[in-house]
Each structure stands twice: as structure tokens, then as C-alpha cells.
């Protein structure tokens, strides 16, 4: 049974007892993963574009392991990250609640820390549910859900204007027991970790590429858990291909020495219309970006191999995702945090032994933040979906059911978080349908931009047709309004 500081909070105690009351007499704790309650393995990469999967034939990247995995999984090609930037995406991923509910309005760093931006401790996440249900839980890698506080942790990315990396204490780990993780730290070739028992100043460095070390740990964990026979839920959060692209082992760089960088750049109209400095950025970055991805792919493959060797694969739900994509200079943008396809779309592959028929699903408008209720449902814990969850359980649709398909995906951005009280009146909101991307930007409560792209005729989103098609824009704004109303989005007043 899960102990720890959860008992400190009243809310959680009642939840805990509530859950126990519903289902679990102590003797009902699970001994092993069953068909009803499988294991869970989530591998999340960072800044990995949805199109950057070799088998999709869209980017010149090599991902042989993910290509193979795609034959065994449901591939959700429409998947997006609704708030495509690290902490907000991760906050929603764990909690299934939106930023205004879960506390992660923007990236956790020293500035937003003043506004208290970090994941709410008292919110029940899917990992809490599984821990309470008797699962062995493990978290490896990047976490990024805690606000840094002084004196800041003594590492290189805390020495600049802002501090980024913070320790996650035991009570804030949302049910994860085995723990080798860090807040955020981008030196991929010499990563930094705290393990389960480390105190705040007891972090350490490893002289090994992050994903490789993390895969080593994951495999060791899978081996050890096998002997206990307990059901497990493990999340491995790899940092590459996050910026710091050049920090990747040579053997992956070798794969791309002959990449047609100029031709690829020239083939992207969304890049060619950007400023020259962004075009150059893309050209400097793309080969190493792909090298990182090939590396992540290899490490993912190793973990899958271990699962299969241990006989755990068929009874494990395996998910591969990313927290957001990467603009890399397209649409005059670097990084993410914007409503264009290259930033919003993420890989989302899910397998479950023989329980899910492998297929490519081009129609399901699923968001990364739908993960929490969806996976709990698939794992047989539909009744345990926390009351605070606001996102959608799309387990039936993943199984292939085409009824009650979502009509859109929500996009959000909170601006000006570092200035008190402004985050609700400055930012962006949008909806993405199968054909259209619609978004509005607002500052101090006033809408400053309206965007509408028809992705069928304009796949690179070059032509904003909001002005030319006011009826359509109005329709989509109504859809946006409805979506925002349904989740009690406080920025609704702007509309």
C-alpha cells in the first residue's frame, strides 16, 4: 500500500479511503498483472515531431524500432499536444486536468515560481491511482513539474537569468516509487539525476548518454520486477531530441552525414518563408535532430526487447509519445508552444499485446492530455478515474469504435504568467479539427490575431484565411467556446 506524505493532505486521505472502500479490501491487492489489469510502460521523448517517424515517410529520419513497433500498435496520426511546451504538457499528461486546475500554467522555472507554477500536490494522477491499486511504480528521467526555490540547486542551467532544475521530494512524486529523475537538464551526454533516496543536494552525474542510461535502468527494473510478479507501471521520460541536438553519440551522427540538408530545407515552404537566421538554424540542426531520434529509437527498442524477452510484452500496455513537437525555424518560430502542425503534433503509438489490433488511425482527434483517463480505462480502472480529470476517455475509439469521435482538439497558451494576474487575459486558444486549425491570440483581454488554416488545401499552413472566410471562422470560434466552457476555462471571458 502506498504510504508517504499523501497522508498529510486531507483531500488525499479521503480519496485514498474512498478508493479502498470501493474496491480494495487489503486481501484484494493485486498479485500480478492480469488480463483485466495489465502492466503499463510509457516512453516519452521530448520535442519529437509527430512526423519524425520513419515509417510515416514524411521526414528522412530512421527509426527501425518504432517502425517495427508500429506494426504491433495503434498509430494515432492526428495526436497533438494541446499546450505544446514541456511542463504544461507533462502536467496535463499526468493529471488529465487543464492548467488552470492542475497548476502548471507555463514552464516551471524561477520566474513563474513566483506565481506558484508547479503541479498541484493534492491532485490525483494516473500514477496515484495505480500505486493505490497495488502496482509497482517507476519513474525515470525528466519530470519538470516543481518550482525552483532558493538557494537553487547547484547545476549549470540554474546559473543564468532563470533557474530551471529543481528536486522533486518524495511527497510530490504522485505515487511513483522507484525514482531516478530530475527536473530539467539538457546536457544529454552527461545527465544529472536524483534517485529515490537522494536528498536535495545529493544529485549526481552519469557519463553516459541520457536515453541509454535510462534504458539500462528500465531494463534492470523490468528484470527485477519480473521476479516479484507484481504488476508494474513505469514511465521513462527521455530528454532528446530536445534542444542540445549536438549532444548525441557519434554512432547516431554517422547515420546522417549524407543527409540532403539543403534539399530538405528547400522542400519546406513553411521554413523557406522564415527569416534567414531560422532557415540556417534548421539546416544546422536537422541532421543532429534526426541523430537524437535514431538514438531514442534504439533505446526504445532495447526496452521493448527486454519486455518481450521477459514474457511481459503481451500483458503490458506500451505507449510511445512526446510532450510536444519542434518548429525548428518553421513559421518563423523556434522551439514549440505554437499552434502549427510541426509544434503541436506528436507521436502517439499504443500497443497492448493481442488486445488491440494494430492499425493506423487517421481520424481520432486525440490529445496527449487525454492519456490519463484513457489509459486508466484501458487498464481496467475506469471507475477509478479521478473526479478532477477534465480530459476525455478515448479508450473505445482507440479500440476501433468510430462512435462518439471527438470533433476537435483544444489548443492553449498562457502568456505573461510571470506578471501577476495577467495570465488569464494574455495568451492564445484554438481548436484543431480534421481539416482546420483555428486560433486566436489575445493581449490584456483583447483579441489581437485570428488564424484559420485549411490543412487539406494548405498543408503547410501558409495562408491565414480567417479574413476571407468569416463564417467558417465564426463556426470554429463557437466550437472553441464550447470546448472552453466544458472545462471551465477561465480565459473564456476573452471570447
Amino acid at each position: 500500500m502506498y504510504r508517504g506524505s499523501m497522508e498529510n493532505t486531507k483531500i488525499n486521505r479521503s480519496l485514498l479511503f474512498g478508493c479502498m472502500g470501493l474496491l480494495f479490501a487489503p486481501s484484494g491487492l493485486m498479485e500480478a498483472a492480469s488480463e483485466e489489469h495489465p502492466n503499463l510502460l510509457v516512453v516519452m521523448a521530448d520535442q519529437f515531431r509527430g512526423d519524425a517517424l520513419g515509417f510515416r515517410g514524411k521526414e528522412a529520419v530512421k527509426t527501425p524500432n518504432l517502425d517495427q513497433f508500429a506494426q504491433e500498435a495503434v498509430v494515432l496520426t492526428q495526436a497533438v499536444s494541446g499546450y505544446p511546451v514541456s511542463s504544461p504538457a507533462r502536467g496535463m499528461f499526468l493529471s488529465g486536468a487543464y492548467p488552470h486546475e492542475n497548476g502548471v500554467l507555463t514552464n516551471c522555472q524561477s520566474e513563474s515560481a513566483h506565481q506558484g507554477v508547479e503541479l498541484r500536490q493534492d491532485l490525483t494522477c494516473w500514477s496515484d491511482v495505480l500505486a493505490q491499486a497495488g502496482y509497482a511504480t517507476a519513474y525515470i528521467g525528466k519530470w519538470h513539474l516543481d518550482k525552483p526555490y532558493t538557494p537553487y540547486v547547484d547545476c549549470s542551467n540554474n546559473k543564468g537569468e532563470m533557474a530551471w532544475n529543481e528536486w522533486c521530494p518524495l511527497e510530490r512524486r504522485h505515487g511513483f516509487d522507484y525514482w531516478v529523475a530530475y527536473g530539467t537538464y539538457d546536457r544529454h551526454l552527461r545527465p544529472l539525476y536524483w534517485n529515490k533516496d537522494s536528498k536535495r543536494d545529493e544529485f549526481y552525474y552519469v557519463d553516459q548518454w541520457g536515453p541509454e542510461h535510462e534504458a539500462d535502468l528500465a531494463i534492470q527494473y523490468l528484470d527485477s520486477i519480473r521476479s516479484t510478479g507484481k504488476p508494474f507501471a513505469m514511465m521513462v521520460s527521455m530528454n532528446p531530441p530536445h534542444t542540445g541536438y549536438e549532444q548525441v553519440p557519434d554512432r547516431y551522427k554517422q547515420e546522417y552525414t549524407t543527409l540532403n540538408v539543403d534539399s530538405i530545407a528547400n522542400s519546406l515552404p513553411s521554413l523557406m518563408q522564415s527569416d534567414e537566421k531560422y532557415i540556417q538554424l534548421f539546416k544546422r540542426s536537422v541532421a543532429n535532430y534526426y541523430a537524437c531520434i535514431t538514438g531514442v529509437d534504439e533505446q526504445f527498442g532495447r526496452i521493448i526487447q527486454a519486455l518481450k524477452k521477459n514474457g511481459q510484452y503481451d500483458n503490458t500496455i506500451v505507449v510511445f509519445v512526446s510532450d510536444h513537437g519542434d518548429s525548428m525555424g518553421m513559421h518563423n518560430n523556434i522551439g514549440k508552444n505554437i499552434f502549427y502542425e510541426e509544434a503541436m503534433r506528436v507521436p502517439f503509438l499504443i500497443s497492448y499485446g493481442k488486445q488491440l489490433t494494430p492499425r493506423i488511425d487517421q481520424d481520432l482527434l486525440i490529445s496527449l492530455e487525454d492519456f490519463c483517463p484513457t489509459v486508466l480505462s484501458l487498464m481496467g480502472f475506469q471507475q477509478e478515474i479521478p473526479a478532477t480529470v477534465q480530459t476525455r476517455d478515448l479508450s473505445e475509439q482507440i479500440r476501433g469504435n468510430r462512435e462518439k469521435m471527438p470533433s476537435s482538439q483544444l489548443y492553449m497558451f498562457y502568456g505573461a504568467v510571470n506578471e501577476t494576474g495577467k495570465n488569464l487575459t494574455t495568451g492564445a486558444r484554438g481548436v484543431r479539427t480534421l481539416q482546420y486549425t483555428y486560433a486566436i491570440r489575445y493581449k490584456d483581454g483583447v483579441i489581437t490575431e485570428e488564424h484559420l488554416y485549411d490543412r487539406k488545401t494548405d498543408p503547410f499552413q501558409l495562408n491565414n484565411i480567417a479574413g476571407k472566410h468569416p463564417e467558417l471562422a465564426k463556426q470554429l470560434r463557437t466550437e472553441l467556446k464550447q470546448r472552453m466552457e466544458a472545462v471551465h476555462d477561465p480565459a473564456l471571458s476573452v471570447l
Binding site: G54, F55, Q71, T257, T258, N260, N266
Partner: protein, 483 residues
Amino acid sequence: MKNRTLCLALGLSALATVGFAKKEQKNVLFILVDDMQKTSIHAYGNTQVVSPNIDRIVQEGVSFGHAYTNGSLGGALSMPSRAMIMTGRGVYQVKQDGAVIPESQVTLPELLRANGYETFGTGKWHADKKSFNRSFEKGDHIFFGGMHQYNQNGHMSPRLHHYDPTAEYKEPFVGDKFSSEMYADAAVKFLSERKKNDRPFFAFVAFTSPHDPRNQHPGYGHTYHPEEMELPVNYLPQHPFDNGELKIRDEVLLPFPRTEEMIRKDLADYYGMISEVDVQIGRIIQTLREKGELENTILIFASDNGLAVGRHGLLGKQNLYEHSISVPLVMVVPGMEKGVRSESLCYLYDIYPTVCDLLQIQPAASVTGRSLLPVLQNPEQKHRDQLFLAYNSSQRALVKDNWKYIIYNVDGVVTEQLFDLSNDPDEMINLATDAKYAFKKDAYKRILKEEMKKNNDFCDLDRHFWRGKPGKMTWEEALKLYN
């Protein structure tokens, strides 16, 4: 001074390892013709046919004398042949006999496009429209379908499309020139409009000649007179037995028995189409030459399948004889040997990984073909030990060491043929009943069965009815087999 040179050397080598090694980005021009026998090319020894531009290609490149399409489930051989070429996969690995190319099968142009190539397509596309658009970012005068219809004025009034980014391609327009000229026009325009620093291109020009209707010819080309046509040496008025496919559209274009007069006329029409498409091929290559891009372009010339045109008493391609199932294939690679011929056995679906090797791009995971690069570098190099060929549920063949074994099953009636291709390239002497070759025949049958099993063939030679039930497999059944 010494230090500076050292630094420079180190710097350069560092650049090289870091990936600034600029490899040459060669263009690719892929010309695919429709239903052209490999023996209907002047440069291959046919003194009757006029094909100067194709001859030029043969003189410049490496010819593959034993290239084959893997076969077909249905009668429209072109559909699986083209899907196999595009996906680099065999006959039982394409979906719905090639009618649909699913996203999971990354086409060659699609892969090159992801690698920054500008991909252009004109002419015939026998698969679905979405796969055309995934493959090509540009195109014009696109023909979706199998053949120009007789009742729509055939090649003279081809029903074509301009590029539609939505992939809906609603209403075709009627081309005002002969099909081949329209496709060449589109290709020439594309090539002419390219600028010096554009990305490398992959251009696919899929002519519909010399596929029928052949009752009309354009004003250019060469006119042939039936009375001057020599009958092929293996002409027969009638096929000696029922091969299971004697009533299909292709075969009933002329009645049985085929008289010599009929075949001479058929040949004159056929060669007429070959000469006209040869003219259009010449235009495209000339444009490349004028743009100075010829030296930087890999040129591939092939036909999707052959055609009988009177040989063995047949007219069509729904059979496994050399004239129908073997195809011309030439690759012109700048810097490689010219005018060379390889006898190595290969499938058309080996082209895909070969192009990848030449461009130093890794083929997509969905490709099962085998790269011919070692053969391009050494024409004597063995490529495949044997090839198996398949038609519907009635014909199977094995080609190995210059011998071919064909076996038929028509409603339980089995016929075998064994041909010594080195001495009898026209497949006129059936040695299947010759006791001297019984051992060889049995060995070939055994190897054929192994190949069929390895390739997940839905037929089993040991069953009375190969597919487990009598009757010819229907189109609908064929589409559902491999999905």
C-alpha cells in the same frame, strides 16, 4: 606555418566527419512504358522496329536481360506491377493487388520527397489518388486508371488531371493531343522550369503506350505496313492448350485462330506505338541535355510487363512466357559503364532499393526488394538464385540458371512446361515430357513450391485445386486476398 597547415587539415577532417561531406545529389528520371516487350527494341536485336531514343538509353546504360514483374492476382498486370515498383515489395506484399498503396508502404518518391527531393509525376497511376499525392508534390497530365477507353477515342483523347493538392481529382479534362505527347509535354515543362539551385528531382513519367487501343496513331513516329512485318518465330495460330485465361479481354481482341494477316496487322500497330513513344522519350531526354542536367541524372527505363502479340497464339500478358512476364530494364548511372548487359535475375521491385543505394538514402522499412548496386558495379554478379512468377490461381513458374519451369492448373487439369532458355529463348521446345530432363523438372517444381511457401502464396501445388476450390478466382476474391 606548420601549425596553420595542421590546423587547416584538422579543420577539414573535422568538417568531413561532422557531416559537411557534400555528396552529389543526383536527380532521378524514371520512364515507365506500358506493355512493351523487351524484344521490341531495336538495340536488343529487333531489326524491324524503329526506336532510336530507347536505343540511345540502352547504349548509355546497364541493361538487365532477365528482369521480370513478379506477376499478378488479377488480369490487369499493370496494377500490381506498378505498386510493386513504387513500394519495393513483391506480388503477395502489395495491398489489393496494387489497387491501393497504404500509408504503411512508403513509396520510392515519397521517401525521396522526405529527403528533400522535388518529386514530380505524370502519366498513368494505377493505384489510389492519395498515394499519388503522398508520392508527388507536383504533377500534371495525370491519368488515373488502367487504359484509355476505346469508346472515348483511346489515346487520342486521354482523360487527364492537373495536380490537385486535396487529392480529390474530381473531373478529368480531355487532352487534345496523343497521350504520350501530353505526358512528355508535362515532363518537359517541369524540367524546363527548374532553376539551377533547385533541389534534386525525382520525375516519374508513366506512358500508356504501347498499351492498346492501338487503332489510332499520332502524326509523328514511324508508320509500319502489315505486309512488311515478320511474324515472330514462336507465332502460333492458337495456344496448344487451355492456360486458364484464353477468354480475358486482352485475348479476345482478335478471334481464334489468329491468322498471319491478323498478327502482321497487330504487329504494325504495336510497333507504331513503340516508335511514337520513343519520339516523346527523346524529347524529355533532350530537355535534360539542354538544361545540362543529363550528367547529373540517373535514368531508369522499364516496362511494367510485356505482351504476347501473336507469340504462342496469345495476344495479351496474362501468361508466364518471356514475352509477357519479362520486361526491358535499363539503368543509366552517370560515371558507370555504358552499353553493358547483365543476365542476373531480378524483379522490377528491386529498382527501389537500388535507387536508394545510388543516392545513399536508406530504403523505408517496408521495402523487401534487393538492391542491384552490386550488379551495376559488376554485371556478372549474381543477384537472385531464382525467381518465382505467379498469375492468378492458374499459373506458376520458376526461373533459374537459364531454365524456366511453368506449371498450369485449370480446374484440376495440370500442364507442365520446361524450357531451356539459353538454347530456346523463344520457349518453343517443351522439355517437360522428355525423360532426360525429368530430374530437372522435379527439382524445379520442388524449388517453386519452396518459393511459393516462403512468399506466402495462397496456392499450394500439392492440392488438386491449388486454391482449395474449383473455378477461376474472381476480381473481388483477388482484391481481398492480401490486405
